[in-house]
Amino acid sequence: MNPPYTPPPAGPAWFLQRKNWLLFMIRELTSAVIALYLVFFLVFLARFGGGAWVFEEFLALLTHPLSMAGHALAFAAAVWHSVSWFNTSAQVMPIRIGTWRMPGVATIIITGYAPWLIISALVFWAALP
């Protein structure tokens, strides 16, 4: 008798097999874009610490379309990360009062989207002169 049949291994492109696996892989890959942005941000901090002149020169560079495109990509990745992160909050930290469990959508808004909006607004407000 032959041994049980084992289907061939999926290979590195396994995530193309199912839609949700692909979405997962995109979510994970956002971290690579965010990592690049973090490197940029460290440079940004270094320039900022270098004084007003250095910083203004640096800002001028950032008006280049390539920079804009890079930041647009970074923004998309960051938002994807935020959305995919917050959307799991009802699963990871469900809110319960007695036997009542807060509906998933409400949990996600209260623990995710609402703080996100408030913090974003606060950061803008603080950064504005």
Binding site: M1, P3, P4, Y5, W14, N20, T88, V92, M93
Partner: protein, 250 residues
């Protein structure tokens, strides 16, 4: 049986005794409106080809035997109406990520071992002392673990989880959710005993939170949620052990 409509089933065939490779065999079925995929397979087995091997028992979505890939999706075949797949064909395969013993029969032994590994039972000293009545447990305390106790061991989550093919030693969604079900049970005192089995690299930390297990679960067990809760608990435990190493029990 006189049916109303026709549909073709393409069934995965593998026989370990004939030395051949797996292949798909097509059967045409006349079906009634309320037939599920399992009804069609049973009809084929009864009337056309008795060599097909598949598992089923309850036909009401609670015994967990009849999980299969139906058109590429992990499904309970007793729970998948044929008419939803019209006009067909319907491709029926054994659950993904398991060795195939024969046709639609997968090898479940690895899964059974995994279940045992997480110590899925109440651990405390007085468990056999029934003299003082029941342990009290409020409805709110039940709610903390109840969804994770609804697992029928159908293993659809294993077919949905890509880690199962990337890391074959992974304990997997159902087993980890089961361990977590007991960890979250207010009657249990066995968390510390379970943590070793559950929090290894093949345990909780093997999970990358794809989340598909909870999507394909027919009983809303939410293994993905259970595992993330388990990770939080295991991380807390790690810091506790770091601060108060060895022998210190909380």
């Amino acid at each position: 049986m006189a049916g109303e409509k026709r549909i073709t089933l393409e069934i995965f065939r593998y026989n370990p005794e004939d030395g051949g490779e797996p292949f798909f065999q097509s059967y045409e079925v006349e079906y009634l409106n309320h037939w599920v995929v399992l009804d069609a397979i049973n009809w084929i087995k009864d009337e056309i080809d008795g060599t097909i091997a598949h598992r089923w028992t309850c036909r009401m979505g609670v015994c967990g035997s009849c999980g299969m890939m139906v058109n590429g999706e992990p499904k309970l075949s007793c729970h998948s109406l044929l008419r939803d797949y019209a006009p067909g064909p319907v491709r029926v395969e054994p659950l993904q990520h398991f060795p195939v013993e024969k046709d639609l029969m997968i090898d479940k032994s690895g899964f059974m071992e995994r279940l045992a590994e997480v110590k899925p039972y109440i651990i405390r000293d007085d468990v056999n002392d029934t003299g003082n009545g029941e342990y009290l447990q409020t409805p709110a305390q039940i709610a903390a673990y109840h969804e994770h106790s609804m697992c029928i061991n159908c293993m659809l989550c294993y077919a949905g989880c890509p880690v199962m093919s990337l890391e074959p030693a992974f304990l997997g969604p159902a087993a980890l959710a089961l361990g977590q079900r007991y960890n979250l049970d207010s009657r249990d005192k066995g968390q510390a005993e379970r943590v070793d089995a559950m929090s290894g690299d093949e345990g909780l930390w093997g999970c990358t939170f794809v989340g598909e297990c909870s999507v394909v679960c027919p009983k809303h067990v939410d293994p993905a949620g259970a595992i993330q809760k388990g990770k939080i608990a295991a991380a807390k435990q790690w810091y506790a052990n770091f601060i108060k190493p060895k022998g210190a029990k909380k």
